[in-house]
Amino acid sequence: MPLRISTASNYQRVLSSIRLNLSQLVTSQQQVSTGRRILRPSDDPSGTARVLSFNRQIAGTERFIGAIGLGRSVVDTGAVALETGSGILAEVRQNLIQGMNGTLSSQDREAIANEVELLRAEMLGTANTQSGERSLFGGTKAGDSPWIEQVIGGVSRAIYTGNDEEQRIRIGNGVEIAITVSGQDAFAKNEGAGPIYSGLTGVGQGLTGDEGQGYEYLTVRHDGTSSATLASSGIALVSGGAGDTLLGDNTLTIDATAGTVQLGTGPVLTIPAVGSGDLADFTVANELGGELHLDFSAFGGADFTGTVSGAGSVSIDGSSFTAINFAEGDLELIHPESGNTLHFDMAGIKRAGVELVTFGGKVNIFDALQGIVDDLRNGDNLSQPELTDRLGIWLTEVDRGHNNLLVSLGSLGSRSERMTKTEDKLEGVQLQLESLRSEEQDVDISEAALDLARAQQSLELAQASGARLLQTNLLNFLR
């Protein structure tokens, strides 16, 4: 028996097939117009879960890319500052080498000293570079200028108030990169060795270790000259030895046959002839240049060998002096202001003068520059070779400082490069994630368009066939 189809269900069927096709058409249209396959989680719950996970990963990647962008500007600003610093130091080096030239007049040196002084100020400015409100070379103390100037013991010194930490950012899950170098590393890397003596006075390193940084001037003063046996030769001290600079016990040897005089192992000199201008004030010097003024006016003309001793005192701050005990092998001197502690061996002291003691590897570049300025101005009245020696010490420190600055610059450069590479990689990942998300979330447009056309067609078919079906009625034929 054929099915009974009721008239109402006929209408119902036509209606529901039109409805179904219409809703498919609307869905297709919505997908095409928004480009989205998933418009709400229930459209595809597991797909939504994946889309959400992609969303998080994309946000994370974007976050890292953002952090890299912000961080790299800091790294690059730092690198530019260090490049500037490197240029300054190259200029300082040039000036320094020029200053070591023995033919310069003191005015010329003063001009160079002024130039270096300006360069030092410029260097300090570079070390205090800020990006935004943040100091780039203060470690994690970012708010204040890390390098401040203080006059300690009459010398202008730069003090580091930052710390040794680096500011770090995160550029991946569990991946950190530092975006700054500490001012300590860039401008004052601590490569502590023992102290270095300029060797002017013959003072040596004591037994006990030393502690401190930067440099100190040890002032060795000549207080008096004494010789018990000299009188027998007829030679006298000039002004009681007031103008001498020799210290410690020195052997004075006069060879009457050769007509020469020698102090210690210093240069052998010809005894001045009677009537010559320097007869009453003839200067002999020992191996370190400690000078002894002798009056040969009453010279007896016999050979002489005797000891001439210079007494003196030392001071680390230039104001409080300690008499030298030449037997002292471990004299402790503490600078009252800088706190630097040094131990000296007094046995080798042979002349008065100002001894430069640098804490090798612990001098910040600004202090080195200040030392250069001071020495170019030659406040210690050094002879040209002595001055050249001293500037040589500074040259070593400047070169060391320059090297460290370049190492810091190099590490900033490689960080910038690494950040760029990471950024490239992250952008690649980002693209990949976005395409994966799109695959999950977005409609395939060609497919969707096809679906739309198909839905439209089936709706039209449903409408057409429905219209035909509903027209068919027995009443049409009953008359």
Binding site: R4, I5, S6, T7, A8, S9, Q12, R36, I38, L39, R40, P41, S42, D43, D44, P45, S46, T48, A49, V51, L52, S53, N55, R56, A59, G60, E62, R63, G66, A67, L70, G71, V74, S131, E133, S135, G138, T140, K141, A142, G143, N163, E165, Q167, R168, I169, R170, E176, I179, G192, T208, G209, E211, G212, Q213, T341, Q441, N473, L474, L475
Partner: protein, 781 residues
Amino acid sequence: MPGVGLSAGLRALLASRVGLATTGHNITNANTPGYSRQAVDLSASRPVLSSGILVGNGVSATSVRRTVDALLQRRLLTQTSVQGRLESRFTTLSEIEALMQEPDGNSLGAQLDGFFTSVSSLSTNSSDSILRTGMINNAVQLTSQFNQLAGSLSSIRADTATEVAIRVDEVNDLAREISSLNSEIASARAAGLNPNDISDRRDVAINELANLVDIDTKEDQTGAVRVLVDGSTLVSATQYHNLTSRLDGNDEIELRISGAAITMNPNGGVLGGLVAVSRDTIPQLSSQLDLLAQNIIREVNRVHSEGIPASGPYTSLTGGSLFTDTDKDGSFRDELLSNAGLPTEVVSGELYVSITDKSTGELTKSKISISKTHTTVGDFLDSLSSIPNLSADIDGLGRIQIVADAGFGFDFGRRLDPNPDNIGSFGGGRASLGTAAAEPFALSNGDTLTLNSGATPISITFNSADFAQISEATAEEMAAVINADSDVIATGMKASAVNGQLVMQTLGSGSSESFDLTGGTSLAALGWSALSGSTISGHDTSVDVSITGSYTGKNNDVYTFRPVGDGTVGTTPGLSVDVFDSAGQRVATLDIGDTYVPGTDLQVAQGVSVSFGLGDLSGTNNDAMSLDVISDADTSDALLAVGVGSFFTGTGASDIAVLDGIEADPELIASSLSGFDGDNQILLELLDLENIQIAELGSASLSEFYGEIVGQTGFDTASTVDALDANDALIQSLEQRQEQVSGVNVDEELVNLLEFEQSFQAASRFINVLNDLNDELLSLL
């Protein structure tokens, strides 16, 4: 005989008219919902005895009946209930789904991303005030998104309750209608009538009722239908009961038949769906959101509370949590900290407190021990207040308040103490003698210790009364006894307990300070026998110790530094320092002999470095210092519980918020671990929170858990849609089958119409023939 024929003809006319009327009725009701096709039952009339034979007496319409399939109707009723439940569930779920604004909108997930992104931005320049404000803004957006979601969920729940009330009214209307139709049908039946259309109306009402709530129906002999909901009678043969709804104490919907004691739990129908959504779906989602919020609060606060704001250590802090007077005796202080109504758990552990002297920058670390089973709120406050320059109390609202003295600041950071040798027992200027071993010391009652301080002989006697257990004397107890001695006080000496060791010192510093250890019966217990008779002297130069770096170890520990040998740093060949952890294992040996340049950093272990300045150390005199290395400054979680140093406050999604103080002053974001403004360690650790697996979230990360919530809602909605589609199809097929049985086909009825018309015409012709016959007969007369 002709009479027989006429009456048969008449009956045929009448039967045809009934047929015509019924067909007309069918045609006119072809589109009436719930209408069942009616059919006329025709049967041959009783034959009459005529001339000894039974003669047929025509046709009669015996009844007009509905064509219905009762089984099919019952199936439909069940599916209608299912449909009602699914529809109401879908409505609510899609509303909730829309709230989530996923996957494209301004969703909670996007806000969570935004928060972490703002933390990341701030971490690139932690002192930037604009970025700080940015982090606060993002955090506020995140919290308000939480609040909004929680609020919308509870208003959906409230709307559900309102809708239930409306639906209950509808149920009651239908029950009344069914009940009155019942009476009509019963009385018609009693009169022997077939009330087809009334039955149809009742079926429609029952179907509508089934859409609202799942029902059982039973028809009795009178034709009345009993309707049962969840086993309770809603409509009986003669009367109906009212259904009532109300909210119980837990804001849950409660349905019961008016006057009945038991509540009903309908599973199906719109009501069943609404009740289920309100009772399970929404609370479940709310509690998951709460869980997410709680974990964000807890994890962020845990990290944040160990940080230090950009503006430096705190000078005062008020907790974000309220204490509860659990035993209601009017005081908070006697409650156990772990049972004081705090939002998170307090366990046994330690809390490190750092006090910073703002003028000198000097840092002092103190450790508070907290026991889950013993520490009361009062104990906790007292422990905090016993730390020099710090005081703690409870404010008027019942929150903890911690205040530092003027010129001091406090924090709960884990940064290293740059100079841990506070009393100078490690190459300090004071004459100092320590014990080699840590407590306990096996003293006996009456043991003595004799010293010469300058020319003054000192004799100290240790009595049992001064010790909890003299055979296990602690350094603390011994120091108390020694420091009480008048000669010790008079000659400027002092005993201290350092990490369990007893240290005897002069108060003054310098090489002129000294004392002699002359003897006593306690020397053996203290390990000082070999030193008896020796002179201990101070130093002009004290060793400057400087600790740098940050501890990377996993557990809190104490590093103890002890020199090996006697001598001067950087001078004496072979001089070294051994570093031990709290288990007594040596973690490092540091060479500080003649090749060491004083002031140079040396690696100790786990990221900790140390440098020693010039000065003398004595292994013989047991010089020692200890350094707390901390990986978690609050293993007790007490800070978290009392809400000190919090970033977020609140107990769940509905009340999560950024701490007022921080919202008002972004400088208070504790971004720094070391206290330096450019240190972003805390921010970096906050960033890590995005990916850590959290046990409370089923070992999912925050965003994974959020994804699960959204996924679950989406899945619930999708499965409801699927079920709805399947049920739709089922209902459609059932309805089609019902239509096959009960539906009106107009064509068919038209055929019936013709059929009855023709039989009417035939009957008329028959009467006409009979009439002609009669006329024929009559004409014969």
